[in-house]
């Protein structure tokens, strides 16, 4: 089988799995009405937006041969920083002034914090040659602690209508988070397929040593990838905070696992060098529809977890069987 056919089949399998789920849910008399409603459809899309933002970044990191366990904590800290700055501003004791932030300023600051923490991940990984697993495990704890320090352990709520708009607003009939996630998908599909950076990700994920000997600057590329991953986690944090109108110290716990699951279900190889952003979109949709269907069917949350776990195993097992052919 040629690689192109194989790729197509792998993609086709994910699409088929998604369609199968949609058809199955539509055929269940007790839920089909609700499931097929426009409102539910938008709901699913809105719910997956946060995971999609995280998972795009995770896809880049995994393609490059790494992993980022810190995205859930980075998401929380970015959201909390934006919320805190918007609500309370910041005191600069050295100058004796209190800075107040506009909504836009707070958003930029939240995004910048995400990018900075991601950059730090990349710096630690390249400077001290730490395995990404360990470096980002450290950051998982650091960023969570920073969030709790910053929020003093309490949610920051009531952030105003402008801020809430990016989480709950609509434009042309679609929720804002869906627009934002879609825009990011478009941008990163372009980056992975059509730019140097994208090609370099596949190259260093496929064979780091050969990439280095071909003159690629591994350090710069890796730092960029982790910074992008952090920035995308930051955006996810802003979306989540805006949707809930609240930044909580425990936001995003365990999100890194959902994100890795989406990437893997989407056919990206955990060892790097193989996969795609579009695959990850499918992975997020599959998880989203599955969650939605299970909730509508009133399956207990305990069972939901178990079923999700088996779906992940099945997806990866299928991928392996394909690779063996």
């Amino acid at each position: 089988m040629s690689p192109q056919t194989k790729d197509f089949l792998a993609r086709f399998q994910s699409v088929a799995a998604l369609l199968l789920m949609v058809v199955a849910l539509s055929l269940m008399p007790q839920i089909s009405g609700t499931f097929l409603s426009q409102e539910n459809g938008l709901n699913v899309l809105r719910q997956i937006s946060v995971n999609l933002c995280l998972s795009i970044g995770m896809t880049l990191v995994i393609l490059s041969g790494g992993i980022d366990l810190s995205v859930g904590s980075v998401l929380a800290f970015s959201g909390a920083v934006a919320a805190g700055l918007l609500k309370n501003g910041i005191m600069l004791p050295a100058f004796g002034v209190a800075l107040q932030f506009t909504t836009f300023g707070a958003l930029v600051a939240g995004l910048a914090v995400g990018a900075a923490l991601g950059w730090f991940n990349g710096w630690v990984i390249t400077r001290f040659k730490l395995p990404p697993f360990v470096a980002t495990l450290g950051m998982l704890s650091i960023a969570r602690g920073l969030t709790q320090l910053w929020t003093k352990g309490f949610p920051i709520t009531d952030l105003g209508p402008d801020f809430a708009f990016i989480g709950t607003g609509h434009w042309l009939g679609l929720p804002m988070p869906v627009w934002i996630a879609s825009l990011l998908v478009a941008v990163f599909v372009l980056i992975t397929r059509k730019t140097r950076l994208g090609r370099y990700l596949y190259a260093i994920g496929g064979n780091e040593r050969a990439a280095q000997l071909s003159g690629l600057n591994l350090r710069a590329i890796k730092v960029t990838v982790y910074a992008l991953g952090g920035a995308l986690a930051g955006i996810a944090g802003l979306l989540l905070t805006a949707r809930l109108d609240s930044a909580t110290p425990n936001a995003g716990i365990g999100y890194e696992l959902d994100s890795i699951a989406a990437v893997v279900i989407g056919g990206t190889s955990l060892s790097g060098g193989r996969g795609s952003v579009l695959g990850t979109v499918l992975g997020c949709l599959i998880i989203g529809v599955l969650n939605n269907g299970l909730v509508l069917m009133e399956v207990s949350p305990f069972w939901q977890q178990i079923i999700k776990g088996f779906v992940i195993l099945a997806a990866v097992a299928l991928d392996k069987m394909n690779a063996k052919e």
Partner: protein, 512 residues
């Protein structure tokens, strides 16, 4: 000794009859037969891709044949997995050894069949005792409690053989055992093989080094394109006969070289040193000076560990901190900090280990070709597939790379074609100096010939080439000048006219 017809019945251990095997898109084996006898070494010869490894994998139970039968001491057998083959007495020693570096020699030897005490724990004392006994018989002077990682490749091979013998192997298959070990270790292995033969073990031996045959082989079989070409007694065929059987035609013009007058000096290296990565105070490269002119091939010969690869890596900017000396490219002094700077200055390295260092196997021919000069394929800041394909197709045509398309993953190409992709990648950067580390290792004779022809063409166009090779005939035929290294030093330099196998080898042998 000639193989008499009687002997075909006497002492036959393993016989494969009419074996065929297809993989998607290729017929790897087509009606191949092979007979192995007690206490004999049967060499299996053929170019890469001839089907030797496929046949061995079938005999060792790695995968089944599509058709044909295997007889072990006259009984028909079919193995479902390597363990069944091992239990029946067939052991295979792969080119890439199957050993676990962090376990001891004894633990490796008895992996999966550890002797147990009555309480069900591993009986370490007995295991080490038994291992020591086998190592003694094979004259390997290491403790069974040494970690595998502390052994040299040649010693690890002996451990693999000990493991096979301790499982009562009657047939041992060795896949290119001498491709990665030093000359001294080759001699030890050959002696060991004679001992195994005296003990009645049958050996199937895959090799590319025809010089080995008179020393160890009793008979040989040649395969080509998945087919059986012929078998003969080892002493009945000359080197040229065998090559003709392997290639299917005469190879008189294997190394053709159009003579051209070298041009201006393009590379000069003065007193280059590189400290040894592990032994403090020692050097991997010691006081090496050389120069290279455009249109010239400088051959670098040395045994394993002579510092050849390290020399090339240093010139390519891989050890900027550990090295010292003076390097001049095109009259300008340089000290590359990394590969990028070297590439930009026109110095490129095709490494010895193509798969690990030269290529991204999971990417296409096109993506690998453009990897080092991706800027050339960009338009308005985005990669332009049409330009990239055009670039890659140009080199596919020029180098006669055999690939269904430039979109094929490099993983699916043969060794020779992979090497051509590595060369394409570098030629696309318009280099001045091409550093080649064992450019024809592990690739078949036809591809070798094409690579020599390409080198000839490149030299004629004014490129300077430094070629490291451990094959004397190759270096004698291709190089204009030859430097010899031993223990990090340059021990001799010869012009093409002065050089011969004897004076090169003399300079290459370590002094102490």
């Amino acid at each position: 000794m000639a193989v008499s017809t009687d002997a075909t019945e006497v002492g036959m251990v393993l016989e494969a009859r009419g074996i065929s095997k297809s993989f998607p898109g290729v017929k790897a084996l087509d009606d191949v037969s092979l007979t192995v006898r007690r206490g004999r070494l049967h060499a299996l010869l053929g170019e890469n891709g001839a089907g030797k490894s496929t046949l061995m994998n079938i005999l060792a139970g790695v995968f089944p044949a599509d058709s044909g039968e295997i007889l072990l001491e006259g009984r028909r057998v079919s193995f479902r997995n390597p363990r069944e083959a091992r239990e029946a007495g067939i052991a295979i020693i792969f080119q890439e050894l199957n050993l676990i570096p962090h376990l001891t020699v004894a633990q490796n030897m008895f992996l999966g069949r550890e002797p147990l005490t009555r309480t069900g724990l591993i009986d370490d004392a007995r295991m080490n005792r038994d291992a020591a006994e086998w190592l003694r018989r094979l004259k390997l002077e290491v403790s069974p409690q040494t970690l595998m990682s502390g052994l040299r490749v040649g010693q690890q091979q002996v451990v693999e053989i000990a493991r096979a013998l301790s499982m009562r192997a009657r047939v041992i298959i060795m896949d290119e055992p001498t491709s990665a070990i030093t000359e001294q270790e080759v001699a030890v292995l050959h002696e060991l093989i004679h001992q195994l033969k005296r003990d009645g073990v049958a050996i199937i031996y895959i090799t590319h080094k025809l010089d080995e045959l008179p020393l160890i082989a009793d008979e040989f079989t040649v395969m080509r394109d998945g087919r059986y070409v012929g078998s003969q007694a080892a002493n009945a065929a000359s080197h040229d006969d065998i090559v003709r059987m392997m290639v299917g035609r005469d190879l008189s013009e294997m190394f053709s070289r159009t003579h051209a007058e070298p041009g201006a000096e393009v590379l000069r290296v003065a007193s280059l040193h590189l400290t040894h990565p592990e032994r403090a105070g020692d050097f991997a490269v010691r006081d090496v000076s050389l120069h290279l002119r455009r249109g010239e091939v400088l051959g670098v010969f040395g045994l394993m560990g002579a510092g050849r690869t390290e020399l090339l890596e240093t010139l390519f900017g891989q050890h900027p901190k550990r090295a010292k000396g003076k390097i001049t490219v095109d009259g300008r002094e340089v000290w590359f900090q990394n590969a990028r700077q070297a590439i930009d200055a026109g110095v490129v390295l095709a490494p010895e280990d193509r798969k690990r260092e030269g290529l991204v196997l999971s990417l296409s021919v096109a993506a690998n070709t453009s990897l080092a000069c991706i800027g050339k394929t960009e338009r308005l800041g985005l990669l332009d597939a049409a330009r990239e394909n055009e670039l890659a197709s140009g080199y596919v045509t020029r180098l006669h790379t055999k690939t269904p398309s430039v979109h094929q993953l490099v993983r699916n190409l043969s060794g020779g074609n992979q090497q051509k992709v590595v060369l394409s990648k570098w030629l696309a950067t318009q280099p001045k100096v091409l550093l080649l580390d064992e450019p024809t290792r592990g690739i078949d004779i036809n591809a070798k010939k094409e690579i020599y022809a390409l080198m000839d063409e490149l030299i004629a166009s004014g490129l300077g080439v430094v070629m490291v090779s451990s094959e004397l005939p190759e270096i004698l035929a291709v190089a204009d000048r030859i430097i010899v290294m031993s223990e990090g030093r340059k021990t001799a330099e010869f012009t093409r006219a002065e050089a011969n196998e004897e004076n090169i080898m003399k300079a290459a042998l370590p002094k102490n």
